[in-house]
């Protein structure tokens, strides 16, 4: 069963005890879309990612991956999904290749397929010379490149990237952004890119503004500028997050 909507979130809510972190969140990401989930720290981005990857189970609302409800068909949803978490998730004592092979096995890939694909993905992120180095020896930027290579190993059609550029230098940040945008443009992969860095939005991106657990706006970057009558994304964001508070 396929659907051109890679990720669809409808009426999603979540609370930890009495503390509500997400309220009635709804938006979708189409195949080939690069969508930025923009929000300050504490906006609820990581909770949303934890729900979409089934680390937590959602009790309010529905999350669909290519039309499938993640609660009912978790395995099929997770197979189509590649994830880069905000927190680093590599095993530092294994080599780059060993980390990728391990990930491949968790998705049921044969060793030969995993070897071929990991060589290709490692090359794409420019780490062929480091493939036999332990991850502990790599820089922060290189580790992030390994994580994006790893999340593509099982050929997902939807990428979820939670603040993937935190702590990276300008060159590494730009590489991550360009690489992900290229994947969307050339391979039709859908990407949801969570960030608090407004300059990562870029031209042509779709934006979901999340503030205090609520969606404040959804649309193309240019559309949000028009809607808020502001000259820059930063001004548009500030207007959107202040609007309701002022009201």
């Amino acid at each position: 069963m396929t659907d051109v909507t890679a990720l669809s979130i409808e009426g999603l809510g979540h609370a930890f005890g009495s503390r509500r972190v997400l309220s009635d969140v709804s938006f979708s990401v189409a195949a080939g879309d690069f969508t930025v989930l923009l929000g300050l720290n504490g906006a609820g981005k990581t909770t949303l990612f934890s729900l979409a990857t089934r680390l937590y189970v959602q009790r309010e609302g529905v999350i669909r991956i290519f039309g499938m409800d993640i609660r009912e068909r978790a395995s099929e949803c997770l197979r189509r999904m590649g994830v880069v978490f905000q927190q680093p998730t590599l095993d530092l004592d294994l080599t780059v290749e060993q980390n990728l092979f391990y990930h491949g096995s968790l998705h049921g890939l044969a060793h030969r397929d995993a070897a071929q694909r990991s060589a290709a993905e490692i090359e794409r992120v420019g780490l062929t010379d480091q493939r036999r180095d332990k991850v502990r020896q790599l820089s922060g930027g290189q580790r992030r490149r390994v994580e994006i290579a790893r999340c593509l190993l099982h050929r997902p059609r939807l990428l979820l990237l939670d603040e993937p550029t935190v702590g990276l230098d300008i060159a590494s940040r730009q590489f991550m952004l360009d690489h992900t945008r290229r994947l969307c443009r050339e391979e039709g992969i859908a990407a949801l890119w969570a960030t608090h860095l407004i300059d990562e939005v870029g031209e042509g991106a779709r934006v979901v503004v999340l503030h205090k657990g609520e969606v404040r706006a959804v649309g193309a970057a240019a559309q949000l500028l028009g809607q808020t009558r502001t000259p820059s994304m930063r001004a548009a964001f500030e207007t959107l997050v202040q609007e309701r508070e002022a009201a």
Binding site: V57, A74, V83, L106, G108
Partner: protein, 267 residues
């Protein structure tokens, strides 16, 4: 997901455990040195203090070293079980647990695969100990080395499942010291590892019942009898039941809908 995917996943998890094990050679030596210190110092010291009468499965009087050998083997399995727990808590703190948890394969399978991978390492260390123990004339009949294998596997699974369960409840790596105080030491000392239970019964009836209820006692006894190609059925049943209970609770603990993961995030 077809059976071949499950098999590949199991192979991947086992390979990772092996690679980690090979990266930490000190872990192998410390796992062996610990029981050997007990054997070389404690057992020698108590050789003339503690008398062991003829009790099954032994057919004659035995030196104290021979008596405590099964307990020391079980000690290796217990520490390895707790290492599974430590490695799960470490993985959670370092983030690599998330990669395991977003695998499309079911969590019960992922946890069981982790448990089996750890168990294989435990059993190999137990055999390494048995080889070195020959220096102390701890030599069961040759077939005992074969018949003890199922007992080692079952005991290793029980301790590993307990480790998994604890890892679902331990919040931080620092809390692991409590495991030493409240799990490893009580389990080891309140068992038949160091002294026969009839000795304990004479000293304290309450402690005797505690020892009888302790699954570690049954691991020790299953191994003790299996080394002489004998089956201790009560111990086998207790171990199977304990493994099932611990593993079920661990799977529950790692279930996003019911377990501790969400509650932990809320804190």
């Amino acid at each position: 997901m077809r059976p071949i995917h499950y098999l590949r996943c199991f192979a991947g998890i086992t390979t990772r455990e092996w690679l980690r094990f090979l990266n930490q050679r000190g872990r192998f030596f410390s796992a062996l040195v610990r029981p050997l210190v007990w054997l070389a110092i404690f057992a020698t010291g108590f050789h003339f203090v503690l008398g062991v009468s003829i009790i099954p499965p032994y057919e004659t009087y035995i030196p104290y070293e021979v008596y405590i050998a099964p307990g020391l083997i079980a000690m290796i399995l217990l520490f390895n079980g707790m290492l599974i727990s430590l490695s799960m808590v470490y993985d959670r703190e370092m983030g690599s647990m998330r990669i395991l948890m977003v695998s499309p394969l079911p969590r019960w399978f992922l946890l069981t695969a982790k448990l089996l991978a750890g168990c294989v390492l435990s059993v190999l260390q137990a055999y390494a100990f048995l080889a070195i123990a020959l220096l102390w004339d701890i030599a069961p009949p040759w077939y005992g080395y074969i018949t003890v294998l199922p007992a080692l596997v079952l005991s290793g699974l029980m301790m590993g499942a307990l480790g998994l369960l604890l890892s679902s409840a331990i919040r931080q790596l620092e809390n692991f010291a409590s495991v030493m105080n409240f799990v490893i030491f009580p389990m080891f000392f309140a068992s038949s590892a160091l002294y026969p239970l009839w000795h304990v019964k004479e000293a304290s009836l309450l402690l005797y019942y505690v020892c009888e209820a302790n699954p570690f006692t049954h691991a020790v006894e299953l191994i003790r009898f299996a080394l002489y190609a004998q089956l201790e059925p009560v111990s086998a049943v207790v171990l199977v039941a304990s493994t099932a209970v611990f593993l079920t609770l661990a799977v529950y603990g790692y279930d996003p809908a019911k377990g501790l993961m969400q509650r932990r995030a809320a804190e």
